[in-house]
Symmetry: C2
Subunit: 273 residues, 2 copies
């Protein structure tokens, strides 16, 4: 999927929402617990209820791996369901992988060939080698962690080099030479830094976690992060998935996603330059 195709979808749906499918088997509504594959049943209901308001879906691998081989099956079924029924959706594996060349090739095969994801999140710590095997899939995207939304992001990402440049800024500047098909993770909880991220990567899409449960402001994200082709995919997970634990969970999820879509519609009007 090209950046233009993503932007086109954003304009059509008036949304830059990415629904995070952090599906925790212990948090599912009572009514699904007897289902043969409750995780997939939940995902399917959430997807059906929110796809009209979202341009991307992002399963986080941790929640599927926690269920062992059954979890991988739920994930594969989720990917297949999205691909078949919502082919316009941008599909991100939130895996935060990062390993040496021959191992990275295997991960790339898993997420880009065995499963048909459009993108994967990757850790930059081990450098270019760990990203290169993913970049050879020219119609797929590598989303590198730059500035994350968690409190301890500061432990290393803010370390300054001898010219006062932070590690996350080095990640942004150095990795742009690695290939075209790169996006970045930039946390919503650090709105003032988001401006620096955007300055360092003016044309790249940014995947922005941290609104909703983590407390980031959507207005600030749009103000500091939006570019002329939107350039943002803002993800929300828990605030949509677990807004309601009754049998009406999907309807409530739909309302929560629609609320965000409405806000995004306004922000597209005022911030799109």
């Amino acid at each position: 999927m090209t950046a233009n195709e993503i932007f086109k979808q954003i304009l059509q749906k008036r949304s830059f929402l990415c629904v995070g499918l952090d599906t925790d088997i212990n948090k599912l509504p009572e009514c699904l617990r007897t289902d043969a594959d409750p995780v997939f049943a939940f995902n399917k209901a959430i997807i059906d209820a929110t796809a009209a308001f979202a341009v991307a879906f992002k399963p986080n691998l941790a929640f599927y791996e926690a269920n062992g081989e059954a979890g991988w099956l739920s994930l594969a079924k989720t990917v297949e369901y999205l691909r078949k029924n919502f082919p316009e959706i941008f599909l991100i594996a939130d895996a935060k992988r990062g390993d040496i060349g021959n191992t990275s090739e295997k991960y790339a095969e898993t997420f880009f060939k065995t499963m048909d994801f459009d993108a994967i999140t990757l850790s930059p710590y081990m450098g270019r080698d760990t990203v290169a095997p993913f970049l050879t899939y020219r119609d797929k995207w590598c989303i590198l962690l730059a500035l994350t939304s968690n409190p301890s992001a500061a432990d290393f990402q803010y370390i300054e080099d001898q010219n006062g440049v932070c590690l996350y800024q080095k990640v942004l500047s150095i990795s742009q030479n690695w290939g075209e098909n790169i996006m970045y993770v930039a946390g919503a909880t650090k709105a003032e830094q988001l401006e620096k991220v955007r300055a360092a990567a003016p044309n790249h899409f940014l995947l922005v976690p941290g609104i909703g449960a983590q407390g980031g402001s959507l207005q600030d994200v749009a103000r500091y992060g939006m570019n002329s082709r939107c350039g943002l995919l803002v993800s929300a997970s828990r605030s949509i998935l677990y807004a309601d634990s009754s049998k009406n969970f999907a309807q409530t999820a739909s309302q929560e996603a629609k609320k965000l879509q409405n806000e995004m519609d306004e922000l597209l009007k005022t911030c799109l330059r």
Copy 2:
């Protein structure tokens, strides 16, 4: 498993070898390809052939995930087989994970509860939050990437702060305050830096990849990295696993592991201080 128990096993087996189970389904000997679970059949044969010469085994998750849910089953069976038949072995999930708190909790559950690994490799990029949920398992170990063995490790790990301290050194110094049950990855291809790693973390076990296929020297690793309780787990994967593609593969793997064990025996005599 305690550090003392690992050291005791090192002295008993006269070895600090970690066999990397990077089991690539496309590289298996012809004779196994019709097996119902060829990956597990291969692992079982390799384990039986090399466990006498090794103190640790380290499956790299990429190779199992590449086979989807069948891969997870092969991995679970491998862990179970090792636990049952070689309870003294230190068992490392080479997963290089790293995510925020609630997601990290899930990964910790997967590798430390669902599967009974002793340790997991983790990326430090996102800071303390990403490691903390693993550290609460007091009898388990977090093995943080510090200095990796791949060529592009230099992209970020060697970036110096305003006092001339490299990122990998910051990882070593800062993370030591996070908990007791930490080890570090330090690549064998950077022998001169290994001395700096050991100086920064005098008492920690180091997991050292990069000998064998990647070209690092075992002598240099022992010279620069060994401490009074050995403090080293040196891993070899491809050089043992794929030394022979005939039906004698396990016998050849055994010989390759024994060769390394013999070298390690000598190094334990001369370098153990």
